[in-house]
Symmetry: C2
Subunit: 203 residues, 2 copies
DNA sequence: GTCTATAGCCAGATAGAC
DNA sequence: GTCTATCTGGCTATAGAC
C-alpha cells in the first residue's frame, strides 16, 4: 500500500471520525430519524464540510455499512485463525460478535424499504463486494457444519445464512436491555440460544 | 353494545377504510416513508378530512396497531377453542399466523426508536390493553408448554415471549420472498422451524 | 476545505368556505 | 365532515466568501 501524505492522513482521520458518528447515530435513531445536521454537530464541523467528504446522506450510511462489514470480516478471519475450531463454533463466534455489537449500540440500522438508499448501496462496489465476501465466508462454514452434522440439514444453507444475518437487527436484544434486569452477557447468551437451539425443548 | 345510528355506521365504515389503507401502507413502506398525503389519496378523501378522524400521523399508526392486535386476539381465541390442542401447538399456530400476515404484506412495521410515536402508543389505553392481553394469553401458554416439557426451560418465559413477538418483523421472510424461488407456505415453514427448532442439528 | 447563509423542497397540520 | 388552499417547520443540499 502506498504511503499517504500528511494531508491525506488528516483527511482520513477526519472521515473516520465522521463515519464513527454516523455509525453511532444510525444505531441510535435509524436512518430516517438521523439528520445530517446532527452528524455535523456531533463531529464538530459545518454541514457543508460534510458534503465535501460524502455526496449525500445515503453515502454516509453506505460508509457506515462498509465499516461494520470490514469489522465483521476481521472477526471472521480471527475465527478462522483459531486452531481446531469447528465450523459451527466459528459461526457461533461471529453471531455472538454480531449480537454484542448491536447491544453495544454500534450496529447501524437501515430501513429495508427506502429505495434511494437501496440504490446507493447496490451502486457502491465496495459495499457489495464486502457483502458478498462475508456471505461466501459464512456460506462455506454453513455447508461444512451441515456436513459434519452440527447444523440442521432440514433448512437450505440460504435460509440459515439469512437467519444469521438477521441477528444484526434482532429486536429481542433491545426489549431485554430496556427491562434493565439482565447483564449484557446474559442477554447475548439467551438470544444466541434462541437462534441456535430454538424455543422447543431438546430432549 | 348500543346500536349505532346510520350516521355512526357510515363513520365507522369510513374509518375502517382509512385504517385498512394505513395498515397496508405501513407494511409496505414503514412509518417514516409513509406520508399522510398517500393515505388520503389511497382512501380517496382529502387530507384535511383525515385529520377530522385522527389527530395525527401517529394516531393513524396506533389505530393500525390496534386493529392487528385485535386480529391477533381473535386468532388466539380460535386456537384456544381447538379441542385437545397442546399449549405448544397453540403457540405454533399463532406464530404461523403472524408469519403469514407479514408475508402477505399486512403487518404494519413501526420504528422502535421514534419517540413521539412511542409516546402516542403508550398513551393509547386501547393499544396498551390489547398488548397486555395478548402478552398474558401467550405467557400462559408458554409457562404451560414449559411445564409439559415441550418448550425449553433453559430460557425465561419472558425471552420466549419476546422472541415470538419478534416474528412479526422477521426480515428473513422478506429476504426469501425477494428471491422469488419459494412458495409462501414453504417460506413460512422454514422460518417457523428456525424459530422453534433452531439452526443446530437435533440428534 | 472550512465556514455562514440560504435555496428548495416536502410533509404534517390547519384555516375557512361550503 | 368534506373540500381547496395555505401555513409552518425541518430537512437535504448548495452558493459563495475566505
Amino acid at each position: 500500500m502506498a504511503r499517504l501524505s500528511f494531508r491525506e492522513q488528516v483527511l482520513r482521520v477526519r472521515e473516520d471520525a465522521i463515519v464513527s458518528s454516523v455509525n453511532r447515530l444510525l444505531a441510535e435513531k435509524g436512518f430516517d430519524s438521523m439528520t445530517v445536521d446532527e452528524v455535523a454537530a456531533d463531529v464538530g464541523i459545518a454541514k457543508a464540510s460534510l458534503y465535501k467528504h460524502f455526496a449525500s446522506k445515503e453515502a454516509l450510511a453506505a460508509a457506515a455499512m462498509v465499516r461494520v462489514l470490514q469489522r465483521a470480516l476481521k472477526v471472521i478471519e480471527e475465527q478462522a485463525a483459531i486452531p481446531g475450531a469447528s465450523a459451527f463454533e466459528q459461526l457461533r463466534g461471529v453471531t455472538r460478535w454480531t449480537l454484542q455489537v448491536q447491544l453495544a449500540g454500534e450496529m447501524p440500522s437501515l430501513p429495508a424499504q427506502n429505495s434511494t438508499l437501496r440504490a446507493t448501496l447496490v451502486g457502491d462496489k465496495h459495499y457489495i463486494d464486502l457483502v458478498m465476501e462475508v456471505s461466501e465466508r459464512l456460506g462455506q462454514w454453513i455447508v461444512q457444519a451441515q456436513q459434519d452434522g452440527s447444523l440442521t440439514t432440514a433448512l437450505p444453507a440460504e435460509v440459515i445464512l439469512y437467519t444469521l444475518f438477521a441477528r444484526a437487527c434482532d429486536p429481542v436484544l433491545g426489549f431485554l436491555k430496556a427491562g434493565n434486569q439482565h447483564s449484557d452477557a446474559q442477554i447475548v447468551d439467551w438470544v444466541l440460544s434462541t437462534c441456535l437451539d430454538g424455543l422447543a425443548a431438546r430432549r
